[in-house]
């Protein structure tokens, strides 16, 4: 395809270091004001640096333009539809940003005495209480910084729980559809992963689960599950799964990455889960920021509670007519200890509580309903026409908030890989769905529209897929060489890994 370059493509990509000129600067620092001494009198010369680090030298207007330009070269949720399966890329109300930026939140020192941080601690306690209610599990720690951190916490809690009972278990079961973080967390927590197969309707293969439990009798510490799972399917055998694991003495862990499907409708605690993590950056209004920040609080059952990380935010009833007070409780002798510095990603908590309070119980339930409705609508649209033929649904049943298509027929009949379709979607102004995950679906395409998209967006997305499949019948190279309109086209990822260049040569 010979196309003319877009204006962004024609720009020469320059880093801020390449715009740097000796002597330029933005910051003007105040004078020390105090009587100064030669540096070497204060710190031995041998511990001092001879040359300052080579940071860019550039004036403020050019800094602003540089980063503004870079932001325009990204595709983000404010640019268009972003149906990235498993990531819940939904709109985050702007109000919550304003609340998080209030100086009382943003400028509060993390080591402030709890007596002088009552507002922040009350806010954290309220969020703990809300998440406990949503998950159906009474005890919450806000400490984990992301979903994978929550998983690690859950596995360390499982280890502490068993150790407390004098047991040492070595295996953790996880379905073959699980998120990659699950097995990675299992290894970091010192366990071995045992994979469980998926049945023909997308749930846990019960015979395989029974077989794996029997093979590893007395060794199974935990089963990690997400429900609905990464196929967007709600596992109807969950009650039986829970009783099998509990009979074996294991804990049941819920990967809450897909909680956006079930808020206010079903609760992991009621399904029999012992430990749940919640991705606040997915379901609870926290912009993803190109890879964080997020937060991954955990909710647990009574038997796991004594082991929760330290410190824990607690509410103490007031005496003599005083109202309740809030504190950080360090006196937790069975605690697994700290998972990070200070109390967690507080700025994230502010946004999430603002979100929970502004939607309320009804609003959260409606958000999940709409997320499921949008996914089922889009699934139905994509079952029509060429998409229905070339991109069949992997497990054909009602889906929850997301669904997985297989590009196998498309590849066979049109010679178009899922990756080609994904890249071509960019030319139509859509961020591609998650591709090649879950691993057990060939040429997988995982679509999660979320509740904040209009019917028009979903229709436009379905129309774009139809158009790409139609054009591929006569011009398959069009998609194979896509995209054409993005600031850069297909990038050489192999080169970036074989001969990594991870910093600028200065």
């Amino acid at each position: 395809m010979a196309l003319t370059q877009t204006p962004m493509q024609a720009e020469t990509a320059q880093t801020i270091y390449e715009k740097s000129k000796p002597g330029r600067r933005a910051a003007a620092l105040p004078a020390a004001e105090v009587p100064e001494k030669p540096l070497a009198e204060l710190i031995p010369e041998s511990l001092l640096r001879s040359e300052p680090p080579r940071l860019p030298e550039i004036a403020e207007p050019e800094i602003v333009r540089h980063y503004n330009r870079l932001s325009r070269r990204n595709f983000d949720l404010d640019s268009g539809f972003y149906p990235l399966g498993s990531c819940t890329m939904k709109h985050n109300p702007r109000l919550n940003e304003r609340v998080a930026a209030l100086p009382g939140h943003a400028r509060l020192h993390p080591a402030q005495d709890p007596r002088r941080a009552q507002g922040a601690l009350e806010l954290m306690w309220l969020l703990q209480d809300s998440l406990g209610e949503i998950c159906g599990l009474p005890h919450v720690s806000l400490q984990p910084s992301a979903g994978s951190h929550g998983e690690l916490a859950g596995l360390l809690l499982t280890r502490a729980y068993h150790a407390d009972r004098g047991e040492e278990r070595t295996k953790v079961l996880a379905p073959d559809t699980s998120h990659g973080t699950n097995p990675a967390s299992v290894t970091m927590a010192g366990y071995e992963v045992v994979k469980v197969a998926t049945d023909e309707v997308g749930g846990v293969e019960m015979d395989d689960l029974r077989a794996k439990l029997a093979e590893n009798a007395g060794e199974v510490a935990c089963l990690m599950l997400t429900n609905p799972n990464t196929l967007g399917v709600f596992d109807e055998n969950i009650a039986e799964i829970a009783s099998l694991i509990h009979e074996e003495g294991g804990t049941l862990y819920y990967d809450g990455a897909n909680l956006n499907a079930v808020m206010g409708h079903s609760r992991p605690g009621d399904m029999g889960f012992d430990i749940v993590h919640v991705n606040l950056h997915k379901s609870f209004s926290q912009p993803h920021g190109g890879g964080g920040p997020g937060a991954g609080p955990i909710a647990v059952s009574d038997r796991i509670e004594p082991f929760l990380p330290r410190p824990q935010v607690v509410r103490r009833e007031g005496a003599n007519g005083h109202g309740p007070s809030f504190d950080l409780d360090y006196e937790r002798p069975k605690s697994i200890g700290r998972l990070r510095g200070f109390q967690g990603n507080f700025g994230v908590f502010v946004r999430s509580l603002a979100y929970v309070l502004s939607l309320g119980a009804d609003g959260l339930a409606e958000a999940s309903e709409t997320a499921v409705l949008n996914a089922n609508y889009l699934k139905a649209r994509l079952a029509e026409g060429r998409a229905g033929e070339r991109l069949p649904i992997a497990f054909d049943r009602h889906c929850m908030h997301e669904f997985v298509l297989s590009g196998k027929p498309m590849k066979r009949d049109l010679g178009l890989a899922t990756l080609d379709l994904a890249k071509r979607l960019l030319d139509f102004g859509f961020h591609p769905p998650t591709v090649y995950f879950p691993l057990l679906v060939e040429e997988a395409l995982m679509v999660e529209p979320t509740e904040t998209e209009t019917k028009e967006s979903l229709d436009a997305f379905a129309a774009a897929i139809e158009k790409i499949l139609a054009e591929a019948e006569t011009q398959p190279d069009l998609a194979r060489n896509a995209p054409y309109t993005t600031p850069v086209r297909r990038l050489d990822e192999v080169k970036a890994t074989r001969r990594p260049v991870v910093r600028q040569q200065l």
Partner: protein, 343 residues
């Protein structure tokens, strides 16, 4: 992210940086996991000068991945060099230092690190990025990994998060690094572009064999740090370091001259220092708080041996007038406490 990695490499003097982790202490724990993988050993030697939150987080993780921790005490505010050398042996996976350490003292990282080099253990150095405009870089001092808390680089306090952790290492560790790494490459037309490099280390590809479980980290906070560093610029960053050292030296001298206050140690400091108070720390802090001053961090909870000590931090936001007011308030509070006891 590529720019951020370049800046962090410059600050730490190490060639490979990732695009950021959650925050400081969990980055320390991730360094432990890396060191175990690199050395196939399971023992960490950790200075008590390392931030208590980092040591506690490392201990939490170590229970999972199965490592043992040996702590080395402090002498005169600095890591006890003889005890450290005695603790390191052929079973040591990594030696963990922090400079400036939790008591504010600037450690001689190179000298302390010799024990690690001798026994083939990795040298992990936690550092305060704001001091890296003036202090010798950890890389120059022989560190294999330099990491730390990124909040001071243009991030909000937010009661402790979100901020980010930075993590830099030698070339030898590039395929064992945790977290995302941006890399430079080209598109099909030869146009310069950037991708996530070395993804074969990561959980979404390697699953149970991944070098770390991290997925969502704190990219936006790391970006904020890069903008802040560009804004400070090469000269500004150095001047800021000097400003901190000068004001801190003044504050230390000013406070030590107050009746009832003495220095906890005389080791060189950059922007924090510790003092002993001649009256109960908690009560003094309450009295000073009445004047609207948060005087410092009481060391007693994490260092029972320093029950009477206070850690004081001076940032670029603290003026001479505020330092003077702090000294006066501390003096008045100690005098009032003592008068109450006498009465």
């Amino acid at each position: 992210m590529f720019e951020f990695q370049t800046a962090m490499s410059e600050l730490t003097g190490l060639p490979v940086s990732n695009a950021g982790l959650y925050e400081g202490p969990s980055s320390v724990a991730s360094a432990g996991y890396l060191a175990m993988g690199a050395t196939k050993r399971r023992r960490f030697v950790v200075s008590r000068g390392v931030h208590p939150h980092s040591r506690e987080t490392l201990a939490t993780y170590a229970v999972g991945y199965g490592a043992e921790i040996v702590e080395v005490g402090l002498e005169g505010g600095l890591t006890d060099a003889a005890a450290l050398a005695a603790a390191v042996d052929g079973e040591t996976a990594a030696v963990f230092l922090q400079s400036p350490n939790f008591l504010g003292a600037v450690e001689d990282v190179e000298a302390l690190g010799a024990a690690a080099k001798e026994h083939g253990a990795l040298l992990v150095v936690a550092c305060d990025p704001m001091t890296l405009g003036i202090l010798r870089s950890p890389g120059e001092c022989g560190a294999d990994i330099a990491l730390g808390e990124g909040q001071p680089l243009g991030n909000r306090l937010d009661f402790g998060g979100p901020s980010f952790g930075f993590f830099c290492a030698t070339e030898a560790q590039i395929r064992r690094m945790p977290g995302r790494i941006a890399g430079e490459t080209e598109d099909v037309d030869g146009r310069r572009g950037f991708v996530l490099a070395l993804q074969t280390r990561e959980q979404h590809i390697r699953r149970e064999k991944a070098t770390n479980n991290i997925c969502t980290a704190q990219a936006l906070n790391a970006l904020g740090a890069m903008v802040h560093l560009a804004w400070l610029g090469r000269q500004g960053f150095r001047e800021l370091g000097e400003l901190l050292v000068q004001r801190t030296a003044y504050a230390r001298e000013r406070l030590a001259a107050v009746e009832g206050v003495e220095m906890l140690h005389e080791a060189p400091v950059a922007r924090e220092f510790a003092v002993r108070l001649g009256a109960p720390v908690a009560k003094v802090l309450d009295r000073v708080a009445e004047r609207g001053i948060a005087a410092g961090y009481p060391l007693g909870r994490e260092y029972p041996e320093f029950e009477d000590a206070l850690l004081v931090a001076i940032t670029e936001r603290r003026t001479k007038a505020q330092i003077d007011a702090l000294a006066d308030a501390l003096g008045a509070a100690i005098a009032a406490e003592r008068a109450e006891v006498t009465a």
